[in-house]
Symmetry: C2
Subunit: 433 residues, 2 copies
Amino acid sequence: MTAASSLLTDRYELTMLDAAIQAGTHERECVFEAFARRLPQGRRYGIVAGTGRLLELIEAFRFGDAELTWLAEQGVVRTAALDWLADYRFRGTISGYREGEVYFPNSPILVVDSTFAEGVILETLILSVLNYDSSVASAASRMVSAAAGRPLAEMGSRRTGERSAVAAARAAYIAGFGATSNLEAGRSWGIPTMGTAAHAFTLLHDSEEAAFQAQVDALGPSTTLLVDTFDVHRGVELAVKVAGDQLGAVRLDSGDLPSLVKAVREQLDSLGNHNTKITVTNDLDEYTIAALSASPVDSYGVGTSVVTGSGSPAAGMVYKLVAHTDAAGEWVSVAKKSAEKATVGGRKNPVRRINSSGRSTAETIHVGEATRPEASDRELLVTLVDNGVVDQSFTGPEGVERARAHRADAIAELPDQAFRLGRGEPVIPTLYV
Amino acid sequence: MTAASSLLTDRYELTMLDAAIQAGTHERECVFEAFARRLPQGRRYGIVAGTGRLLELIEAFRFGDAELTWLAEQGVVRTAALDWLADYRFRGTISGYREGEVYFPNSPILVVDSTFAEGVILETLILSVLNYDSSVASAASRMVSAAAGRPLAEMGSRRTGERSAVAAARAAYIAGFGATSNLEAGRSWGIPTMGTAAHAFTLLHDSEEAAFQAQVDALGPSTTLLVDTFDVHRGVELAVKVAGDQLGAVRLDSGDLPSLVKAVREQLDSLGNHNTKITVTNDLDEYTIAALSASPVDSYGVGTSVVTGSGSPAAGMVYKLVAHTDAAGEWVSVAKKSAEKATVGGRKNPVRRINSSGRSTAETIHVGEATRPEASDRELLVTLVDNGVVDQSFTGPEGVERARAHRADAIAELPDQAFRLGRGEPVIPTLYV
């Protein structure tokens, strides 16, 4: 159980609760849906992330004395609502796309079936988690494709909020990164951690050679030495002198990487260090990674661009009421008509249409009373919370591994055009039937 | 005291500690400096934020049994380093720009004086907080200028990580926003919270009128009614019918705002609701806010753009070792020479040069043995932590109010060109002397 998450919420979720209690409408059965109207930046697909940690936060979404006292003092809601919140735990059902799943515009990524009151107060938390984590995973997945099998490490903790950093490490790992620099992500989610030394370590010592010697003494010759503090070729020479032919890797964090990597590889080979690897970490994103595909790089470290969603730091997901029971207990589909923000009402059953080659051809969304999916369709919704009980196989480190495996499967199903880096349309259409 | 923050850290900070202990260099006295090489996006100035909450996180930066056990199990560091971490609390001195201060390229925003070991392990946390919070405050400050005195509310919690959302509300408030939707920001930092209802509330009820009635029954006629779920003019008509001439405000969340706001103002006036205000919330940023300057808008609600730094979600701050004592105990200035990432070594004393009209003309940075500042210069560094003791006047809600007041003073000192929204150069130069 995580620390209380219940005030990580917009005030209006609670004032709506208060007003609905007053009106006697708070227990109407509802269907809420989280989706993104579009993919950011002309991307071809997105990756769902955050689901597993969201489930843990929903379990921790309780109002204790501290929260209730503060809400009362501030006059946010009145007594009836305070009493309701004191007893709150989510008792509804949540289905959704598996974490790691591919998504497209209007894919109903999360579907909450509950009373209005129980579902509405989770809105802010659901969107905070899905928007940030999916933003990171969607960007990370493109970097993984661009790296074409070479390993990637996430090292952007310093470029995002200190708690978002942990979520970013998790989302990048789900999208196929192999490791993170973030220790809390290692502890909380079981993600492999990596890292050896920064320029400060070299500068602290009386010479670059003394710094390398100190690092090798502590971490062994298989460590990675950062060789660009002063002059790269002198740095490589010293690194090999100190660590010998067992030197694990050299790291380059500056300069024109295509030319530099080539020269460093030649230098290492000429010194007999054929097994010493080259890792690069200089403000990389999916485009610069792709530009290094012909260079003898062995691994990439990615910072700012992955933790900020490479230009799209929020995935644009929204959470909308699409159906509810009315005063007579009958189900009503609802939709708003605001300019450019119109929604499609009604409960939805999405499937991915798959052709005879096993590739996806459409995101097909059955609205309302579902027509039967075709036999080759892949059903997209799974039950995450069943009448208040979270399926624990989606949470914790186990959930992360499961999501990472699922992302690999889901990606393999996409048409090849999905992996083009340039702007374009979603690689398959979203069809309502 | 906040929850333990010590693993919100890159692994390499701890492996450097381990290696420095092995080499006997970990207790060398050091000066580390946090600064940004450039302002993002051709902006004219930046706003420092995060300092107050960083100080609280530094106080909570301790390694308890849970952290030490995990580090030992994972083999991150060896016994000597584990023993050192068990005793760790920061005992050094930190000076820095006041929270809310204006900054420019290379402004030494935070200066840490400590042993290498004590200072290096704080790097990731310091940068996570300063980068994210300053990104938000720098964007928010431009929005505040663009709003030209009209109030702004931050409501972007759902568009950033759930804990970053609290930091974003705090940073926006420091930069001059008047309120936030985020309840935890209200509780933790004393920031005014706001919000009434979303489209879901209207859709839940049997009619728009029934929804408005429910809201007015619960929150009173001075509430803000969201009028664009179906048809704006019908919505305004119903809002006035239900709430009467005491209706507080109507909210518009879609459409072409300049034309819509004008029409709604005319409609409200024609209905006699001259005191009913108009608030707008449709994907605003500094540019769309400025574009509404001639429209009868009364207040703005800003979401995605403020919490994601309006195109620059990380402020680009780095943390560099600039001086240390050597084996003989003598101070040495150090700098790296990496391509495009060269740093200026030595301890620095920054001042803001002020002309006879009270306006700033340069960011003047004295390096090493400081020349005397001129009498009209404003000193920029204040002591935040004195030999391990945090100045509590910078923390908590008091620190937030102090930062907000300081930002207003610092902004008033800038030349008028600082407030141009278009791309350009920093409004004053950074000069080394």
